[in-house]
């Protein structure tokens, strides 16, 4: 007798106050011939691909009798439910319902807006239609200048907002990352309704003993461009871009977020070459993420009622973020955005 208790279905809790936006459902490589179940923002979804086409992100359960569609197969460019062989095309319409004389009218699976970019399947969460574009990261486009790159992926219990606001949190750099220099945060003029851009600069950062003979940091700068759901970062050293980063998120449910993305290090001739910069950057990225994750692990999701002047960066980000979380629709947001920006 196989009477091993079946694990009960988990009660997914929707992440609280998650902003509407583009989130990573899964990696492109993770969706091959078989459909794949994923959880994004507490929603049970299935990602599948018809032939060589773009991945489709659909609700996980068949609208007929609720079977899980990841057990299904792809037949003639449509996803076929395992239970009664109903088929749904890439638009979610039911295109076959065997043993029923005609396809029941108005039956469709919910398809979420999605795009495949930079090795990820991005899904728009929060409203029916995307309200801003998915990331534009030219450094990974075909024809981009020569570079070395790596992708990263980390799991944390922190919320999506916590991860996105971190770059705007000036006073955490000296404490968590040990940057013993004056940091300056300047807002960039290229902010719009869905983008908050800023520049964080450090002048003359003293390096520890062996390193200071080979290089010097006269001017270090971090350019941040953040939407409510993903961000791009560029590090500049002494006026030259050293690394471009795309930071994306998979908020599975309350208290469960995966951060993932790409770092691109442009190839450069010179004394040090690309390898040293690449591995140096990668090491500091790894160390920096590790320090942040240690804080994220036990952080309480509060708005922080006690603030100082140093917190201006985080507070402005939160104000920006709030416009995209909650229940306001597109027009509502647009109206409020015009009023405040």
């Amino acid at each position: 007798m196989s009477v091993v208790p079946a694990a009960p279905p988990r009660n997914r809790t929707l992440p609280r106050d998650l902003a509407r936006g583009w989130y990573v459902a899964t990696t492109s490589a993770g969706v091959r011939r078989r459909p794949r179940p994923v959880v994004v923002a507490g929603r049970e979804l299935v990602v599948w691909r018809a032939g060589a086409g773009d991945a489709v992100v659909m609700d996980r359960f068949c609208p007929h009798q609720g079977a899980a569609l990841e057990l299904g197969t792809i037949v003639d460019g449509a996803l076929r439910c395992p239970f009664h062989h109903w088929r749904f095309d890439t638009g979610g319409s039911c295109v076959a319902a065997p043993s029923t004389r005609r396809i029941p009218a108005g039956v469709s699976a919910v398809v979420h807006p999605s795009r495949e970019l930079y090795g990820y399947v991005w899904v728009w969460i929060g409203s029916a239609e995307p309200e801003y574009p998915p990331p534009d990261f030219p450094h990974l486009e075909p024809g981009a200048p020569a570079h070395r790159r790596y992708s990263f992926q980390q799991y944390t219990s922190a919320s999506a907002r916590r991860i996105l606001e971190n770059g705007f949190d000036v006073p955490h750099f000296p404490v968590v990352h040990g940057i013993a220099a004056d940091l300056q945060l300047d807002w960039s003029p290229w902010c719009d309704e869905h983008t908050l851009a800023a520049r964080l600069t450090v002048e003359s950062l003293p390096l520890p003993s062996p390193l200071d003979r080979v290089m010097s940091i006269r001017w270090l700068c971090l350019n941040l461009r953040s939407t409510p759901s993903y961000q791009t970062l560029t590090f500049e050293l002494n006026g030259t871009p050293v690394a471009h980063e795309l930071l994306a998120l998979t908020p599975s449910e309350q208290g469960a977020t995966t951060l993932r993305g790409w770092t691109v290090v442009p190839r450069s001739p010179g004394l040090l070459g690309t390898a040293a910069v690449f591995w140096g950057y990668r090491l500091q990225h790894w160390l920096g993420t590790r320090s942040d994750l240690r804080i994220y692990r036990d952080v309480e999701e509060t708005d922080g009622s006690v603030n100082t002047a140093d917190d201006a960066g985080v507070l402005r980000f939160r104000q920006f973020y709030r416009r995209w979380s909650g229940h306001g629709g597109h027009q509502d947001t647009a109206k409020r955005a015009r009023g405040t920006v």
């Binding site: 208790p5 359960f61 007929h64 990841e70 057990l71 009664h84």
Partner: protein, 346 residues
Amino acid sequence: MTRAMTMAEPAPVRPVTNLAAGWYAATASTNLRRTPERITLFGETFVGWRDRHGRARVQSAVCPHMGAALHGGRVVDGTIECPFHRWRFDPDGRCVVVPGRRPSARVALRVLPTRECSGYVWAWFGSGEPTHEPPDVPALDRRTRRPRLRRFRLADATRATPRRILENTYDPDHLIALHGLTVAGDARITFPDAPHGDRDGAPPERFDAMLTWPAYRGGLGTVSDVLGLNAGEFTLRVRGWASCQQIEYFADRRRLYEMVLAVTPVCEHHSIQHIAAAVDPDGRGVMGRLRALVHRAEVQVAARQDLPIFDTLQPGDRHGIYVPGDEALRNFRRFYQRWVDTAHRD
């Protein structure tokens, strides 16, 4: 590390919701011996044991004195003895021994109405007394002598609700889609007796149905032809209660096997699907044995094909979209729901 820290986190046991009144399989007859057995049913813990006459008993496992678990105790003189203070309870749940004192007449255990037939110990769920008997198939009784080849029992844990397990029988379309039945035409479902209620509003005892499909086709048809297993028409005759089913399988009116489908509702999101089947003699010698094996494999494979679907179904037993092929399913759900209401009636 202390002992407490090494213990596994207990699985959440929640009471089963939306359960129809009726007979449920507490355990297989062969699993219940003289020693008390722990039985988790409907999200509660019960103790199963056999009295002096070998009759199966299913009672609350919690001693009303200090709450000790009675399945940790033993059976003494036709009573069950609590391991903590040695209070004893008789087969009807009455407390008959309190060491050094006279037992109070008010102390009693909750006893579930119990029957034993078709190879299972059945327990009744519902507030009232049983209104009918569980399916009794003598061929499945453990006392009936029968070659092992021609009798078998399956028990599979699943996340599906009892309703989902039972309603599957009334879903002819999934036979062809999920079970890959390649047949020469549609599967049909008919109702020998249209469900009707009693005059006083009580639900009908059973919702019987007959599933019919034409001859096998394709590769399966060839194999079946060679083995002499193909027929013009196959029929499943279902005697369906709200909590269990008795099913007979015919090929051209010749019965091939008979089975009982029972459910153990362990707790919410955890059921055990029980199938007990007795294969009828179909030829002698090697051919007869081969056919018995094929029938056996047929039931086993079909039962296991349903399980992955059951385990990943959308939680909450939501009603989906109904198409004409789902009419029987819908009627069964209505019938089932009436028995759910019966379970909670005083």
